[in-house]
């Protein structure tokens, strides 16, 4: 039994209470080699040689939050993947999107999911939204040394807060955070353009349906002006990933649902290529 490829000392120590409900703390005490190394020194920064994930947008609606991400990953000027997924479910009421180094971000999302679930199972309660956001900040800060060498990863975190019955959005920088955002936010290389679109299109108290359309429009505007952000790929049927969280929990929209929004948007853009025009006054 002791030979189940478990790290040395785990079986004998397994029943010991570490005094913390954090999975990361537990792993770093018993099997530190399983955690990503955050203190290595690379001979040369490798920023441009590994795939990068790009634009993520999120916005709240009445009673929840929607997050969407494009599907492109780039290495320098090469498109390394057309259908990468960078919006992840982290528990039943939260999700995160990643921008920056794709591999580091995916690994972080995987660890973060276990972290939230581990706490929930040990403590018998769900972590508060603020607690979840703080926990993610600690992980980002841990990656700072690698970020300085080009392996930057910056997430966007969105959750439904059952105490307030509303969606909340938190953003981060390379050194941590969190910064709570009202209404909407965008991260990644196309975020400047996406944020511009969001600013004009966001409606206070809009429905989930309308907000999803706002995000699809914002992503299209980002792809329009940023080469690292991918637009919807109609020929290959690759559409943005859209995740919605409300009182019923997390759900990811199906490709059919997203393609409905995308087609409607494209039809309108055939007439007005720059998208909906916001009223001037």
């Amino acid at each position: 039994m002791a030979k189940r490829d478990l790290p040395t000392g785990l079986v004998s120590q397994l029943f010991q209470n570490t005094g913390s409900s954090s999975f990361t703390d537990f792993v770093s005490a018993y099997a530190p080699e399983l955690l990503p190394r955050r203190d290595e020194v690379l001979a040369t920064p490798i920023g441009d040689q590994v795939p990068h994930a790009t634009t993520i947008v999120a916005a709240t609606f009445a009673g929840g939050v929607v997050m969407a991400g494009d599907r492109r990953a780039t290495s320098g000027n090469i498109i390394s993947q057309r259908d990468v997924e960078k919006v992840f479910r982290t528990d039943d009421y939260s999700c995160m999107g990643i921008a920056g180094t794709a591999s580091t971000g995916i690994e972080m999302a995987r660890l973060y999911r276990v972290e939230l679930e581990h706490y929930e199972k040990l403590e018998g309660r769900t972590m508060s939204v603020k607690g979840k956001a703080n926990r993610l900040a600690t992980m980002i800060r841990g990656n700072l040394a690698m970020a300085m060498q080009g392996l930057v990863v910056v997430p966007l975190f969105a959750a439904y807060d059952p105490d307030r019955d509303e969606g909340r959005i938190f953003s981060y920088d390379v050194a941590g955070g969190p910064y709570e955002r009202e209404r909407f936010d965008a991260i990644g290389s196309g975020s400047i353009f996406a944020r511009g679109a969001l600013k004009k299109l966001y409606r206070e108290g809009a429905s989930a349906d309308d907000i999803t359309m706002v995000l699809i429009q914002a992503l299209y505007d980002a792809a329009d002006d940023d080469s690292a952000t991918g637009g919807p790929d109609m020929t290959r049927k690759i559409f943005p990933i859209v995740s919605l969280i409300d009182a019923d929990g997390f759900r990811r929209l199906t490709d059919e649902q997203v393609s409905g929004y995308v087609r409607q948007m494209l039809d309108e853009r055939l007439i007005s290529p720059d998208g909906p025009i916001a009223p001037l006054r």
């Binding site: 039994m1 002791a2 189940r4 490829d5 478990l6 790290p7 785990l10 079986v11 397994l14 029943f15 209470n17 999975f23 537990f26 792993v27 018993y30 099997a31 399983l34 479910r89 039943d92 995987r110 660890l111 276990v114 679930e117 581990h118 199972k121 040990l122 018998g124």
Partner: protein, 261 residues
């Protein structure tokens, strides 16, 4: 040759430890675990709302225990650490109920033989599969024995009597409300009072759920489920008095830990 004072044979020591553990386990109330059409149902009469006897270990794995709370709570926490670290090292699908049952068995067995006091616990590790044939219910006793149960398991309290009633009413592929009814029948002594709804801890491993299969049933949801169950058949009043017999260990040959599965 005279015996040194205080000598006890290994057989005697094992027997004493086993008796001690059995008495401790029989003191509490029973827990019932059984298969239904969509997965596995756990039912435990439990007056406490905070101290759970049933809990989630991993995506497909649930845990139920009877005996001393602090001891099975340690087992539960250890199991969650084991499952999460394996799922993180490999893949979420690589965490199995069998692996967890083996881990518990080796630890329970070691504690039983090496410690002065064995753990006064009995646990069930249940795993839900994609279909009923993939379901597994493992029952582990205080000495580290593992029993691969088919369809249902009962432990704690008057376990033998509960198991007898469970065996009598259990059918394969029951609906959830039928399975709950069978569990409550098994947990109720003939002619006795049913455990009140607010003192029931009920959970399922539902194979139709996404991601995490474990779900607690409480409040309005549980009320609806109980209301949809067929009304309990009139049971003949028990001949003996309502007074509960004093808790004792179940009868049967003494388990010295040497018996096979």
């Amino acid at each position: 040759m005279s015996m040194p004072f205080g000598y006890a044979s290994p057989e005697q020591i094992m027997r004493d430890k086993a008796d001690y553990a059995r008495k401790g386990i029989a003191r509490g109330r029973s827990v019932v675990v059984l298969q239904y059409v969509d997965g596995i149902l756990f039912v435990a009469p439990n007056p406490s709302r905070a101290l759970h006897k049933i809990s989630e270990i991993y995506d497909r794995i649930g845990f139920a225990a009877v005996g001393r709370y602090n001891e099975f709570e340690e087992l539960r926490l250890g199991g969650i650490r084991y499952a999460d670290i394996n799922g993180y090292s490999y893949d979420r699908s690589d965490v199995t109920g069998r692996g967890l049952a083996n881990l518990y068995a080796s630890n329970l067995g070691r504690i039983f033989t090496e410690s002065i006091k064995s753990l006064e616990v009995e646990v069930v590790v249940a795993e839900v599969g994609d279909g009923p044939e993939g379901d597994a219910i493992y029952r582990l006793t205080f000495d580290g024995s593992v029993f691969d149960e088919h369809g249902f398991a009962a432990m704690g309290g008057q376990a033998d009597a509960v198991l007898g009633r469970l065996k009598e009413h259990y059918r394969e592929s029951m609906s959830l409300s039928d399975a709950l009814e069978v569990a409550l029948k098994a947990l109720t002594e003939p002619g006795g009072e049913r455990p009140p709804v607010e003192q029931l801890e009920v959970a399922v491993l539902d194979r139709n759920r996404e991601h995490r299969k474990f779900k607690r049933l409480a409040g309005a949801q549980l009320d609806r489920l109980l209301a949809s169950a067929p009304p309990p058949a009139e049971e003949p009043p028990a001949a003996e008095s309502d007074e509960k017999p004093p808790p004792t260990g179940p009868d049967g040959p003494v388990d010295d830990g040497s018996s096979p599965l």
